[in-house]
């Protein structure tokens, strides 16, 4: 390009009238060069392009200054919209200000981008830029006309003369110095608008920085007890999470409990009491679901054990299980696996006693049916749980949030498969024995025993249960501390609860205020009236306490109150029209405690069925009408 320009300049400067003035005139135009009669290189085009770019920048600067109020207004609007656009949720309170600032900056940036884009698009055309350059240089259309002639390739003598004049005019010209922004003073109205917009921006960001949590925290700061309870809950949640992971149960419900506890702890630590209470509600719901699963599993295992022992069916006249082996063992088994082992031994010992074998085969068949029923229940429960976790709505549509939950193998599925394997093994044992293949029947029963042992082990899950119990206690403490903080009691009602506990420990059964967290909270104006979260959701003390519990009928019994004050309150309340729902929530914890107690041989084997029947009789029904003793 430079060579073309030099050639054109030489041609123009030669002054030879007979000489072609350009390469095009001479007929030796370079291939690919611009078909202009003046020069392939276009010096004026370069300076005009630079002038246009310069004018574009000046326009951007001017427009930005002119629309400063608009930028501030955009920042204000975006800052104010922070709670809607970017709610705080689980964030720290200071993040509200940061987010408002970020949104305000984003709004101002967006407005700035629009202003810049519009200013840049409305920058002068090349011709207008050339005219502006003329104006800045004090010329009248010299550069613009020269540029136009150069662009159009005008080849007449006067046009070349004009182009040459224009080129001379821009030699040594710095567009940065020539084209400067005109000084512009803001009018009073503009200044007022700008000031108002700036104030609005500050106000908007300030309003955007105000979050419910921030306000609540300012009005009622997080108490020491709340912070302590939140930390404890967090610790308990971590322990529970570790237990859940160690058990390798992949129990979604347990994970839900842990997750809800963590959310509650985080929210309480931030000062988001509403969020913490909501998380605690979620945690209670997850705990109830978890307990329902455990209860169903324990019931299924008991049912299977009873069928194996032959004690589930009433001995009627039609029951021909008169033989000792057919009626069941003389000493009831503690677990289904033990019952199956006993049956296996009895089956081996029965030898060729057809009547006894037939009776035992019938028990096997019933046990198999019970196992299949348990498998079906697990399948139903698993399906419902998966639908709930996968986020399917009522119409069966799946929400994206539930994809992981729908894909992940659940504990319910594993349980269903285990029950199916038990049923298959029992069926195989029964068929093998019917064929007279004792060894195959023995192997199948041993396989079933192993499966049952695993199921019972998983059902017991003592360590996980303890962790979840500690989680519930922590949640209860957090719940009380937050309600106490809401009431303005920095002690969180601990002194009152401690006093009551002391009184109860001293045997003062009638001591006022020795109620559960539910009754206590109601009596003291607890707005939620919520009970402690989870089983026995109450304050848990180190070690168990021996307390005298008074039932509704005046019967007094000394009991191990493992589940805290709430358990005592529920049992006390049953006699005077207590809440049956609380009883239903509480009972599953007793169910497992009973099984644990029976397993520890502290209860004579002969009394164990009695104890089981007792607790079966006081088991709350599904319809909610049946209550305790």
């Amino acid at each position: 390009m430079r060579g073309e320009a030099d050639a054109a300049a030489d041609d123009l400067a030669s002054g030879d009238p007979g000489r072609p003035s350009t390469r095009r005139d001479r007929g030796d135009e370079a291939p690919g060069s611009a078909p202009t009669g003046i020069a392939s290189a276009a010096p004026l085009a370069g300076v005009v392009a630079s002038a246009r770019a310069r004018l574009g920048r000046l326009a951007v600067r001017a427009e930005t200054g002119r629309h400063a109020a608009l930028l501030c207004a955009a920042a204000a609007a975006f800052g104010v919209a922070r709670p809607l656009v970017w709610p705080l949720r689980d964030g720290e309170p200071w993040e509200a200000l940061a987010r408002a600032l970020v949104l305000g900056a984003a709004g101002a940036s967006a407005a700035l981008a629009i202003v810049i884009a519009r200013a840049w698009r409305s920058r002068p055309s090349t011709l207008a830029s050339a005219r502006r350059l003329d104006g800045a240089l004090g010329l009248a259309e010299v550069v613009a006309s020269g540029y136009a002639f150069e662009r159009d390739g005008r080849d007449d003598e006067m046009a070349r003369f004009a182009v040459e004049r224009a080129r001379r005019a821009v030699v040594g010209v710095s567009v940065e110095r020539v084209l400067v922004s005109a000084p512009r003073a803001r009018t009073t109205a503009e200044s007022r608008w700008l000031f108002a917009a700036a104030a609005a921006a500050v106000l908007g960001i300030g309003v955007g920085a105000l979050d419910r949590v921030v306000v609540e925290r300012a009005l009622r700061p997080v108490t020491t007890r709340e912070a302590s309870a939140a930390a404890e809950l967090k610790k308990a949640a971590d322990e529970a999470a570790a237990n859940v992971a160690r058990d390798d149960a992949k129990d979604e419900k347990g994970a839900d409990v842990v997750a809800a506890a963590r959310r509650a702890s985080d929210a309480a630590r931030r000062g988001d009491r509403r969020g913490a209470l909501s998380a605690l509600d979620d945690m209670r719901a997850a705990s109830r679901a978890l307990e329902a699963d455990e209860r169903a599993q324990a019931r299924a295992l008991r049912s299977l054990r009873d069928e194996l022992e032959g004690s589930a069916r009433p001995r009627g006249a039609g029951d021909r299980a008169g033989a000792e082996g057919a009626r069941g063992p003389t000493r009831p088994s503690a677990t289904a696996a033990e019952a199956l082992a006993g049956l296996r031994r009895d089956l081996a010992a029965a030898g060729t006693d057809g009547e006894a074998v037939r009776g035992m085969l019938e028990r096997l068949e019933r046990a198999e049916a019970a196992a299949r029923a348990a498998a079906e229940r697990s399948a139903r429960a698993d399906g419902a749980g998966r639908r709930e976790r996968s986020g399917e709505d009522g119409a069966g549509r799946r929400t994206p949030a539930g994809e992981d939950g729908a894909r992940a193998p659940s504990a319910g599925a594993a349980r269903r498969e285990a029950w199916s394997r038990v049923a298959a093994a029992l069926a195989e044992a029964r068929e093998a024995k019917a064929r007279g293949d004792g060894d195959a029947a023995k192997r199948a029963m041993e396989r079933a025993e192993r499966e049952l042992s695993k199921l019972e082990e998983a059902s017991r899950g003592a360590s996980a249960r303890d962790a979840l119990a500690r989680l519930a206690d922590g949640a209860s403490e957090l719940d009380r501390s937050m309600h106490a903080a809401l009431r303005g009691d920095p002690s969180g009602g601990r002194a009152r609860g401690d006093d009551a506990g002391d009184l109860r420990a001293a045997g003062a059964e009638d001591a006022p205020g020795a109620g559960t967290s539910r009754s206590t909270s109601k009596a003291s104006g607890d707005p939620s009236g919520a009970a402690g979260a989870g089983p026995g959701g109450s304050e848990r003390r180190a070690g168990s306490e021996a307390r005298r519990v008074r039932t509704g009928g005046g019967l007094q019994a000394r009991a191990e109150v493992r589940e805290g004050e709430r358990a005592a309150g529920v049992i006390e309340g049953m006699g005077r029209g207590g809440d049956p729902r609380a009883y239903r929530e509480l009972f599953p914890s007793y169910d497992t405690i009973v099984e644990d107690g029976l397993r520890e041989d502290t209860v004579p084997a002969a009394r164990r069925p009695t104890v089981r029947r007792y607790f079966s009789s006081i088991r709350p029904g599904d319809d909610g009408d049946r209550q305790g003793p």
């Binding site: 300076v47 009248a140 010299v142 004009a162 030699v171 040594g172 010209v173």
Partner: protein, 341 residues
């Protein structure tokens, strides 16, 4: 940044020095310089005689250089006739004055054929040229003549020829008609038809001089001495040729075209200017750029000439006239709202 935005051609500017041979550009430069000096001298000489009418003088000289005719409108005694008389002296050509009256016949303008006795004693028709055969013609109070006589000027002004007995006779070059009309005395006048108005390159309004100018005029004890001729009419023709060669960029031509078209779209205009107005705009722009010493026509040149070129080519609506609008108002509004490029 400065490196990119400071421009050098990379070669020596094509300027001349004392030793360099004359180049094409130098020749152009010299031609333009000479033409401009003619125009400037003419205008300056006029200003020494006619006081307080600088714009009119500039317009008249530019119309002269552009090769067009001028219609001067103004009250009596403002120096219209003096302008033309002085201009004729300065240019050095022939000058004729025609006082238009209602009884003026076309033959009084164009000339007539007389029966003459030949040397052999026979009779023959001999054409005696009228006053139109002059370099500068002053058609004084042109609107007082009948349309028939006014139309006699049509061919002469447009074609620069006069048809006598079916034969065209060329008028001298340069040929310049400067007509005057009195806007005050409207009794017994014949307004010029649009077709004839369009023949005038510009219409200039001669206004009353201001107080200071009047004082200067009054200070003159006697009329100034008649100026000596600045040159020959051929010099004026040369300047006209140089002016015609001055190019205009496309955006300037488009601007002029926009102005012309805008006269049709204006709500106050009954009719607008025609293509001849476009030619007139560009011709005036070239003459003005020559007077300013520029080698190209600028938008400002066109805009400056727009008022005098368009005002007599725009027909006003009665409603607009009733509102007090004039053609100058229309042109001013058009200039204000017409963008370049």
């Amino acid at each position: 940044m400065t490196n990119h935005s400071t421009y050098t051609n990379g070669h020596a500017p094509a300027t001349t020095n004392g030793h360099a041979p004359a180049t094409t550009n130098d020749a152009i430069e010299q031609r333009m310089h000479r033409a401009r000096s003619i125009v400037v001298k003419l205008e300056q000489a006029l200003r020494t005689i006619i006081l307080g009418q600088d714009e009119i003088l500039a317009g008249v000289v530019q119309a002269l250089v552009a090769g067009g005719h001028v219609l001067l409108e103004g009250a009596p005694g403002l120096g219209k006739t003096q302008i033309v008389r002085t201009l004729a002296r300065l240019v050095g050509g022939s000058f004729a004055r025609i006082q238009f009256t209602p009884d003026l016949m076309p033959s009084d303008v164009l000339g007539t054929s007389l029966v003459v006795t030949t040397a052999e004693g026979g009779k023959d028709l001999s054409y005696r040229p009228g006053p139109i055969f002059a370099n500068l013609v002053l058609a004084d109070e042109i609107n007082r003549a009948t349309p028939k006589t006014q139309s006699a000027l049509l061919e002469a002004m447009a074609e620069r020829t006069v048809s006598v007995e079916g034969k065209p006779l060329p008028l001298p070059s340069p040929f310049f008609v400067l007509a005057t009309e009195n806007p005050i005395e409207m009794e017994g006048v014949y307004p010029l038809p649009e077709a004839q108005l369009d023949r005038f390159l510009v219409k200039l309004i001669v206004r009353m001089p201001d107080l200071e100018t009047l004082a200067r005029i009054g200070a003159r004890a006697e009329d100034p001495a008649p100026p000596s001729p600045l040159g020959s009419p051929e010099e004026l023709v040369f300047a006209q040729g140089v002016a015609r060669s001055i190019p205009a960029a496309p955006h300037v031509e488009q601007y002029a075209a926009k102005l012309v078209l805008a006269t049709h779209a204006h709500r106050a205009a009954r009719y607008g200017a025609g293509p001849r107005a476009m030619q007139a705009l560009m011709a005036c722009g070239r003459a003005r750029s020559l007077a300013a010493g520029r080698a190209v026509v600028a938008v400002e040149d066109v805009a400056a000439a727009a008022s005098s070129v368009l005002r007599h080519r725009v027909g006003m609506r009665f409603e607009a006239e009733a509102e007090g609008m004039t053609a100058d108002t229309v042109v001013a509004q058009i200039l204000a709202c017409t963008a370049v490029g």
